[in-house]
Symmetry: C2
């Protein structure tokens, strides 16, 4: 595409590394970035560049933070006896948005996936077991995605903790709130039926 000036071409190429951004979207974004005022464009570039500056991983729960121990782990008002395992930090952020959970978190850093070469030692499973034992956890909520990998990781964690006596739960499966039965996939519908509760 010789018709595009090089600096625009370069920006399009860079933008295409982003997830879900193909050629068309990258073009649209590039021309949008050309049109906005310089300050906004410079801010975006600066924030991309400095996103990792001073960023750490919490020594206790492995969430992103700018301290050694993150804000959530340092918050003395949260319940110490209920621990929620999530796959990554973004899942923690989602849970926190709801504001319904007041315990602690543990960021696993992924899920087991033999095909992708992710083994237990690649995740923070040893650290999780140790926390459950050391911190007097009474309930471990496994909040992993309901995928094959998420399920087998849940099973693996449960087995490793079998003798610890800790109560292990997982998030309920069912029809999403506001969802439509007509469009639910059969597995979800089946899980929703099996998990039916009294009204």
């Amino acid at each position: 595409m010789s018709v595009l000036p090089e600096q625009i071409e370069d920006l399009i190429t860079s933008l295409k590394i982003l997830p879900g951004v193909g050629q068309k979207t990258a073009e649209r974004l590039a021309f949008y970035l050309l049109r906005i005022d310089d300050k906004k464009r410079e801010d975006l570039a600066k924030n991309i560049l400095s996103v990792k500056d001073g960023l750490k991983v919490c020594e206790r729960c492995f969430a992103f933070t700018d301290r050694d121990i993150c804000e959530l782990c340092s918050d003395y008002k949260r319940d110490d006896d209920i621990l929620c395992v999530v796959e990554d930090f973004l899942d923690l952020v989602s849970m926190e948005k709801g504001g319904f959970f007041r315990g602690r978190y543990h960021v696993l850093g992924g899920v087991l996936s033999p095909l992708d070469g992710v083994r237990p030692s690649d995740l923070r499973i040893v650290e999780l077991i140790k926390r459950v034992q050391d911190e007097g956890i009474s309930e471990l909520v496994i909040a992993l995605n309901p995928t094959m990998e998420g399920e087998s990781t849940s099973v693996y964690i449960s087995e490793r903790l079998e003798e610890s006596g800790v109560k292990i739960t997982r998030l309920a499966r069912g029809i999403p709130v506001g969802g439509d039965l007509e469009y639910a996939d059969m597995n979800t519908l089946k899980k929703a039926f099996e998990g039916r509760v009294g009204v």
Copy 2:
């Protein structure tokens, strides 16, 4: 959301200025940018920052370029007597991808829109009229979007050129190739019927 470290929060805020990027997408992009290697992230920031460096607008057709007269306008192998008017540079890029048009372009810089305060003097209409008169154009192809604004801009241009004797055409309306009659809107279907051709 105090749970997000400030540098991630700042990046999310910056990303949300992009078209079609809401909170969720911005979060996903930000965490993706955290994960990729530093070189790629730095390249993206650099390319955003430098996209306007040395960028000019072609003095003849108003396309983006890094010269005074763009590559397309300088290409002596293209037809000089057929001129295609497009709304913006991205439309020119789309047309060029097809490779079916071998004439010259004129980038209007928008379409007339009284509600948004876009008047003829805000567009490169005077320059277009002058080019049609000076360059011995025999056909002017109006390739504006088939919206209300695009249509009224087409009418305005046609009227301004009425006495010039130049042949004025516009892109055909109809069912998109690979499209489905069942899903076509009634206006498109009507245009397609009205514009039916012999087989």
